[in-house]
Amino acid sequence: MADGLYADGIAAGRLSGEEYDRNFSDLHPPLDRHEAAVEADRCYFCFDAPCMTACPTSIDIPMFIRQIATDNPLGSARTIFDQNILGGMCARVCPTETLCEEACVREEAEGKPVQIGRLQRYATDAAMAAGAQFYERAAPTGRRVAIVGAGPAGLACAHRLAVHGHDVTIFEARPKPGGLNEFGIAAYKTPDGFAQAEVDYVMAIGGITLEEGKALGRDFSLGDLSRDFDAVFLGMGLAGVNALGAEGEDVEGVERAVDYIAHLRQAQDLASMPVGRRVVVIGGGMTAIDAAVQARLLGAEEVTICYRRGQEHMNASEFEQDLAASKGVVIRHWLQPRRILADKGRVTGIELEYTVLKDGKLSGTGEALTLRADQVFKAIGQSFEVGVLNGSSASIALEGRRIKVDEEGRTSMPKVWAGGDCIAGGDDLTVSAVAQGRDAAESIHRALAG
């Protein structure tokens, strides 16, 4: 235990190096060969398997598991990558308990599904460790495609386009590729630089040029891209963070959870990562959980998530909620922020109001609750910054403040496709972004060939 464990305020170095290492090691350690064989043997190789239907990327799950069972991990990895080139990350971050594993017939049979996510990791890790590349570029087509955003959607799109022989340029606003995989996911879900290793693995196919630090709307316009390239894929994330709408939130110590998570992921030394003694997180999604759990793991004494609706309304999966509880995070429901309490420009607490759902409408009851806090994280949702699309020669149709696309990922603008978090109607999952990027690539390929 380091000396600073009970220091008030926001402080770094609350824990010992050993504690940081332990807290941020792999959440689910990899399966070894025997464990994988035993788990794979549990798969029934279902006909028209429900897990496969439940997977947004439609991975042939029974087949890849059978390939593990027959000691053919590289064949298994190929089955996965055929549908999802970011299968390694998805194996780590997919909410499998609401996707493939929820659909697994063993869930119905015994409440204990096959651990599909961990098996997927076993196979994809094997392929990446062996440096096995399964795809070759088709003969160059001479066609050039621009991709905005090197996150899951952009990378999946780029890889599939490269397979078809097109030349791809990815423009990434941040100094590093990976998107949410690199900046937005809790560190213990993807330790040891996996996100960058995966980007390297994807890019190894060739034909993909990465332009880092280039942001749409700042360094170039959509009009530029559609003029200079044969096709454009927009794969941006959600750069905006919703404000709390609480009085006095512009004081020191009130932070955007996504920024905090990103800083943590980029931190070279976790001991340098400051965290409050008493932390309050406002929100009910995965970001709220990731921020809260990591705050605890960094040594915060009290971490409370306050969500304005009930447990059943939380976007965070049950698994994530349980994880938070197991790490000592307290989740409180039916509380909305009203006022930030501050002293000398630094947060000292938060005043919340109890809420009630009446006739489908949420309203405050008037009763207030005050929690001490020296750090407050905002995690009540992110938004797409429409402004970056400005400057395009034609306006792009939106739907609910995100980009409107058809079933192939085509936007209202000719030559422009979109996928990932920036499009309307999505579920903000990595795996869905991969599916959309991949499918848009196929659509682009058909359009370019036609």
Binding site: A37, D41, R42
Partner: protein, 436 residues
């Protein structure tokens, strides 16, 4: 409490669980441990003739195949008969029998196929006061190339001849151990019977190669890059052994000949099945080699509990009870009609029944009904084959339900007949006989 004491050709043991002649019974140390653990009897590992003992390979002697979680399903061995001095074995046998008078101690023997060789060893064994001898006509490796083991067991005339020599020479009960590496196991059983054997024991191990190392391209187990066929045993061989036991039990020529059942006995249930098909005792090897001697506790207790639950007082109430129900295919009732029925409450919707039936059988199970994933038997197509039951991962989810007499078989559009009718009288049978 059920009485599971066994009296097998006059050899008494407190239970019917014997250890087979094999590595676990090669010396006093092991056998003493087995008796302390509760085994009812032991067949001492095969003794050879006087002189320098055989030698074993010094590399791997065993190979295996595994099921889920590396559960051992089949074992293969290339160990030979005892490689210890004959007199050392005899001294130990005598001492062990003295220490454990209530247990069965049978001595397995294998000497060259010459009358003098057998006549020389039998008095030496008699002197130990062992309860009986077992003639090893089964080992399929190593010794068979020297004209012993299965080389004898595969020639009924030799079997009869050696049994006769032994019966003429010794007062001890003679159990003849048969090899399964033969087309019709009834032939050597009949020969042993004709020679005067008191009992047969079967099966010995089955010639096998457990696998091939795909890097060295050598069969397994591999000794310095080469491999040889070895004797296969363990749970995987049980169905083969059950059939061979039943074949002998129901053969009119050998009916009533006592049988010691061997082959993959791992649990009390396996043992009960052997008994039901006609075995008087069972012999165990692979299960003990996998889990140690303690498993006999489960076997004894499980057999007793089952007998108590079913009201079987003694082993004689169980032995050969299933034998009359083993028949030839041509006598099976062709008027017996079953249909698969899937219990939708138990169905977990894996679809294995559907795809097995659809791809490989009779297209008699739906996959989709009214746009929903739903597995249901199409009676018009179901031939009652049982494949769906066998591939279903949920025990009891699919049943084969017999149609009552008078019910309509929707596949044939005919009423189910109340009478028994088999192939021998069927109109499609060119060699049919008139129905009685």
């Amino acid at each position: 409490m059920a009485d599971i004491r066994s009296n097998f050709v006059g050899i008494k043991s407190p239970n019917p669980f014997w250890l087979a002649s094999a590595p676990p019974t090669d010396k006093a140390y092991n056998v003493e441990r087995a008796f302390r653990a509760g085994w009812g009897g032991v067949v001492w590992k095969t003794l050879g003739e006087e002189g320098p003992p055989v030698v074993n390979v010094n590399g791997p002697r065993y190979g295996a195949i595994w099921g889920a979680d590396r559960r051992l399903l089949g074992l293969n061995n290339i160990e030979l008969i005892t490689d210890r001095d004959l007199y050392l074995n005899l001294r130990e046998i005598k001492q062990v029998k003295k220490n454990w008078p209530d247990r069965a101690l049978v001595v397995s023997l294998m000497v060259p196929c010459e009358e003098q060789a057998w006549k020389a060893i039998l008095p030496l064994v008699e002197e130990t006061e062992a309860d009986g001898i077992e003639l090893n006509f089964g080992c399929p490796h190593g010794m068979s190339e020297r004209g012993m083991g299965s080389a004898v067991g595969q020639v009924p005339e030799y079997v009869e001849m050696v049994v006769r020599w032994c019966k003429q020479t010794t007062r001890m009960p003679v159990i003849t151990k048969l090899t399964p590496n033969i087309t019709d196991v009834r032939k050597p059983a009949r020969a042993a019977h004709a020679g005067g054997t008191d009992a047969v024991s079967l099966i010995n191990t089955i010639n096998s190669i457990t696998g091939v190392d795909l890097d060295s391209f050598a069969p397994e187990p591999t000794i310095d890059g080469k491999g040889s066929h070895g004797g296969y045993c363990g749970p995987a061989v049980k169905p083969i052994a059950l059939n061979m036991v039943a074949e002998i039990a129901r053969d009119p020529e050998t009916a009533g000949l006592p049988i010691s059942g061997i082959g993959g006995v791992t649990t009390w249930r396996d043992a009960a099945e052997f008994l039901a098909l006609g075995a008087g005792t069972v012999q165990v090897c692979t299960a003990a080699m996998t889990y140690g001697f303690k498993i006999v506790e489960e076997m004894i207790e499980g057999l007793e509990n089952w007998m108590d639950a079913k009201g079987h007082a003694t082993l004689d109430d169980v032995i050969a009870r299933a034998t009359p129900n083993v028949t030839d295919w041509q006598y099976l009732n062709l008027n017996y009609v079953t249909k698969a029925r899937i219990d939708q409450d138990q169905c977990i919707k894996c679809g294995r029944c559907h795809i097995a039936c659809e791809d490989t059988s009779h297209q008699a199970i739906t996959a989709m009904v009214d746009g929903k994933r739903h597995f249901e038997v199409i009676e018009e197509e179901c031939v009652g084959c049982n494949l769906c039951v066998n591939v279903c991962p949920v025990e009891g989810c699919i049943d084969m339900v017999p149609l009552a007499a008078g019910a309509l078989d929707r596949r044939t559009d005919e009423e189910v007949q109340p009478s028994y009718a088999n192939w021998t009288t069927h109109p499609n049978n060119p060699s049919r006989v008139a129905a009685e």
